[in-house]
């Protein structure tokens, strides 16, 4: 069964007709040609499909497109402004934070979300105190990024990249 939705992706509004079963991930990749979010597990376990959905990082494989009519979506493809890399993207280059690159767009979108959550003072399981301002320690970054798997095992460089992008020591 079909439904009409409007999705604003990386600043451009698209009107499209989707089968109600279509996930945001499939709408982005198969209908709009944005292959930046990746299909890893397609079950919400790997994080490769992470995008920013109405400003918050979310798994596009577990979101139905029809349920997010009118949503603003930012993918890793749309993070760079005027040809200048987003600080998280630059940090991933500087820190050699990927090998094959398949998980990288999801890692980067997730990291952008993490840094925003930290700025808002959102706590995490790794924090010593629920009410203290979070700091981007190794353990904090590892916990907050735990929803993004990297089969190459580039974590050892991903953590410093996120710390660098967050303006901390790394």
């Amino acid at each position: 069964m079909d439904a009409e939705v409007t999705l604003t992706v990386d600043g451009t509004a698209h009107r499209l007709t989707v089968d109600t079963r279509t996930t945001l991930l499939d709408a982005l990749r198969e209908r709009l040609g944005n292959t930046s979010p990746k299909k890893g597990c397609d079950h919400g376990q790997c994080g490769a499909c992470t995008v920013l959905l109405d400003g918050k990082r979310a798994l596009s494989c577990l979101a139905l497109a029809v349920a997010h009519d009118g949503a603003e979506i930012i993918t890793a493809d749309g993070l760079a402004a005027d040809g200048e890399l987003h600080p998280v993207q630059q940090a991933f280059l500087d820190r050699d934070a990927f090998q094959c690159g398949y998980c990288t767009p999801g890692q980067i979108c997730s990291a952008v979300g993490v840094l925003d959550e930290v700025r808002r003072g959102w706590p995490s399981h790794a924090g010593p105190d629920l009410t203290a301002d979070p700091e981007l320690s190794h353990d904090e970054v590892a916990e907050r990024m735990s929803g993004n798997l990297c089969r190459c095992g580039a974590y050892v460089n991903i953590v410093p990249a996120v710390q660098q992008a967050g303006g901390g020591q790394a």
Partner: protein, 335 residues
């Protein structure tokens, strides 16, 4: 995935009527569990009714000093709320111990307690499962039982062919905290609104393992109320899992110490429902909290436990593990 119609009605009353009128209809909240189950063929609705934008997304102060959490409040927003962090740390900790940032940003207050078990057989549509397909039997008995129940099950090896057999556990961390907090669930159904004590929301398999909760078809959680805790009360959540992050609980403990010797305890990962440890609470009531008294209380709670044999030595390890976890949680609370 089977085709389905999608509806986003004007309000929750209409949503309830829509679901009640269609036997296979389901409510859609954040979708983190439901969309996965649609893909796996575990649920095959003809109609999906989206309530994510219909229920409240605010956390309001109640006159009694508690909080009313709207069903659409995300797990992230609830864990970050300053009042929750300061007054109900057990709840914030439980939420933050569950899933990941990307999932918590989607998952909702109403949906989290209604998520289904992560029993690997339930999630594999090729196996027999009384919860997924009533009457087909239970593939978990004698199988991979590491994440399965030890409390609320009738025997160490229940009859795997019996239609009532189910040794699944409830996977939610948040629900364990809500059980310890004596939360109240606001429900709207075809027959009107009602309030269900959180500890009575989930059920044991009984004669029908397919039913996780006491909610009738068409009933919708609209909010969850957190009663105020006594002045000076302290609370904490402790979770033990196979890796440091992004894993379901082997066992977990939500504890609320009121400061006058009374302790509320709820256990996760050990039963078909968040397990309020009322026997242990009774043993501890009014007495000193020492390692010996807590161990004795847990021995009473676990007297009826039925460790399940299975591959990888089964799940008997949960008996000492949950005991030690309660001891450690209460020790930290008293420190």
């Amino acid at each position: 995935m089977k085709p389905f119609a999608y509806a986003r009605p004007a309000d929750v009353a209409e949503a309830v009527r829509d679901v009640a009128a269609e036997p296979t209809a389901v409510f859609l909240g954040g979708g983190t569990n439901l969309v996965d189950h649609l893909k796996l063929g575990i649920v095959r609705p003809d109609l999906v009714v989206d309530v994510r934008t219909l229920t409240s997304r605010s956390i309001d102060d109640l006159q009694d000093g508690g909080l009313r959490v709207g069903a659409a409040v995300t797990n992230s927003e609830l864990a970050a709320d300053r009042r929750v962090r300061e007054r109900y740390p057990v709840l914030a900790q439980a939420l933050l111990a569950g899933a990941t940032g990307q999932l918590r940003n989607l998952a909702t207050t109403g949906g989290n307690p209604l998520q289904r078990t992560r029993c690997v057989y339930f999630q594999d549509a090729s196996t027999a499962c009384n919860k997924r397909e009533p009457g087909t039997g239970c593939s978990a008995v004698g199988g991979y039982t590491r994440y399965h129940a030890v409390l609320g099950v009738p025997a160490a090896l229940p009859d795997p062919t019996a239609p009532e057999t189910c040794i699944a556990t409830h996977p939610s961390d948040m629900a364990v905290a809500l059980a310890a907090l004596d939360a109240q669930v606001q429900v709207l159904g075809p027959a009107g609104a009602r309030t269900v004590p959180f500890v009575d929301l989930h059920r044991l398999p009984g004669e029908d393992p397919s039913r996780d909760t006491v909610l009738e078809h068409g009933e919708l959680i609209t909010a969850i109320d957190l009663p105020p805790l006594p002045a000076g009360a302290r609370s904490a959540y402790r979770k033990v899992r196979d890796r440091a992050s992004y894993a379901f609980a082997l066992v977990s403990v939500a504890a609320v110490a009121s400061g006058n010797g009374d302790v509320r305890l709820a256990l996760g990962g050990v039963a078909h429902k968040p397990w309020r440890a009322t026997r242990a609470e009774g043993v501890l009531r009014g007495g000193p909290l020492t390692e010996d008294t807590v161990r004795a209380a847990m021995a009473a709670e676990l007297a009826a436990a039925q460790p399940q044999p299975g591959v990888d030595s089964g799940n008997g390890f949960k008996i000492p593990l949950v005991t030690r976890t309660v001891v450690a949680t209460l020790r930290d609370l008293e420190a």
